[in-house]
Amino acid sequence: MSDVSFVRTEMLPQQEPPGSSVGIVGWARANLFDGVTNSVLTIISLILVYFVLEGLLSWTFQSVWNASSLTECREIMTATWGKTHGHACWAVINDRWLQLLYGFYPPYPAEPGVNFGENTGAWPAYFRPNLSFVLLLLAVAPVLFDKVPRKLLIVTAVYPFLMPWLMWGGSIWGPVMAAAGFGIGFLAYRLLTPVIGGLGGIIAAIALPVIWWLFLVGIVAAGLESVVSISIPEVESRKFGGFMLSILIGVVAIGCSLPIGIVLALGRQSDLMIVKTLCVGFIEFIRGVPLITLLFVASVLLNVFLPPGTQFDIILRVLIMVTLFASAYMAEVVRGGLAALPKGQYEGADSLGLNYWQAQRLIIMPQALKISIPGIVSTFIGVFKDTTLVSIIGLLDPLGLSNAIRADAAWNGIYWELFAFIAFLFFVFCFGMSRYSMYLERKLHKGH
């Protein structure tokens, strides 16, 4: 019997963890040197990373920014580092970055006596495309983020008409009258439905604006222009190029393909035979044809079919073709979302007494679109990158311009710098879209 206790009566004070298991050392031991195999793999990877970075970083940063030709670049490299290998000649970007961004768009579209024209010092260079781009950001902000003031939706509604006016110029009355077509459709629906019934109202709401756009807009706009002239200098489509052209085609195709794709997907699921056949035919035909073929049709075949002398703007033709192409893919992505919804959701909507459009708007589409977000965004990204294909039909997008720049005797023989710059620009946009889709998925994740 003794008081000697073999059990500790007081708690040991808490100790710092051993130095080898915390901080950088601990992290490295746990993650990089966890056993022999992993240690070897880590060392091999580090060596690889070192070699890649060594070449890449010195190429990127030990580079020439100011030179007027590739030859001069090489002279400077030889004088500075003793060799021309492994150093970038960013001087070509320095010389041509405006062209790569805006193509041949005139910085100050000039026409005597009109606004936004001559450089009077009042307007910064490339004022019109830059403003279009800033307005684009404002227009999409309320659509993308719900914390943005709702009043910005006005910009969203006006943008489809304002952007073409800013970019192509001309009279303001054209876009205004085009917008008026929607008003006509709305009025026709409201006023004629009581008179000739629901179906007649819908048909009138579609037919009247189409007649208005096809035959009357030009005349009315010209008339108004002769009364009150508000116009800015016109810029021809041939002047469009560079990254601006990619963004233009990408934004129009993305913006239009989602609604068209949703309509097509619904049409494909419809019970109405004609609607369904049309939608299936359209989707399968467009998806069965490569985009480049559609672009050739736009650039080459239409010229042969249209009456001689018809001038159908080349960029507009390309916009239509890329939009159709993207819509067909979008329709299938959305249909995937629709198919993933349990049948109970449809039946639930029916049992609540909702009609077709109410059910789609309140129950089906919110869920189907949420499921389809990754597919939709990757279609967007794909379409945006596909815009570079237009260089094959002679439009000078960044890739087409890189060829044109190389054709300048001063820059002939330069490749990687141009491609790196173009890749960087595309990456910024595509990565941005991808991050947004992940943000949206997290936000909409309700855990059911």
Partner: protein, 338 residues
Amino acid sequence: MKKSVVFGALTVAGLAAGAAAAGTLDDVKARGKLNCGVTTGLVGFAAPDANGEWMGFDVGVCRAVAAAVLGDPKAVEFVPTTGKTRFTALASGEIDMLARNTTWTFSRDVDLKFTFVGVNYYDGQGFMVPKELGVSSAKELDGATVCIQTGTTTELNLADFFRSNNISYEPVPIETNAEAQQQYLAGACDVYTTDASGLAATRATFEDPSAHVLLPEIISKEPLGPLVRHGDDGWGDVVRWSLNALVTAEELGVTSANIGEMAAGTNNPEINRLLGSEGSLGEMLGLDAGWAKNAIMAGGNYGELFEGNIGESTPIGLARGLNAQWTDGGLIYSPPFR
């Protein structure tokens, strides 16, 4: 031309119905601009500079025609065309003329229904090899690997040449000139073959051009020239004689420097007829009397255009060779202005 721009809900629609029946010359005059098809970029022949101004040897032809017809060498809308779109662009009327290093061949002239109005550059397919290979003739290339652009006439010419000389080669198919340069420099092929002007331009971009030689053999005929549609001979004449005016100007010693004093009248009646101080050649073409003077002032005579864009003073450094005046032993020859 009546133009009605329809702004659709989605984007702009530009549909304009033009007067199609009139001749191309009247169309160009009414439009006030010449639509000239050029390549999307070929060193020395056509390329936009940093300000978006098109420069080059083919571009010079476009500017000369614009100056002859409209009096303004800047009144040209340059339409970049690729090898695949160039012929439909011309056939459909999107462009008025094509000046895009296009080889004059039988089938293009006859079957595709175009009219080649002349030749502004006599090219031919050549070979480039590294000097260290120690080859001095293409006939010594037995067993060589050859970088060749697929789907072009160069591919067929190459096969013919090697077969007729009874030697073998291994083709390395490549898609573009840019790819070819990289492959050749990386040693993926011993020989690079394409048009001799392209080889010279490519070699000029190398870090050490003197380490590569162009072999003496030229294995094909590639007469490059501007072309127009069949069936509008009046317009064809305008383009043909604008080109001839540049050639004749060089032959007669009329340059952009001395044209001012020569236009006032000289002792040489052909110069006077050319520059419009005598006779009525311009009127016969449907142009004003100073048409040729304007064309020559646009970028200089044929020799000046050559020297300024692709000649020996430029990085490309092409010798006149076949493209010298017939008086200097070349093939450049214009029918008389009379």
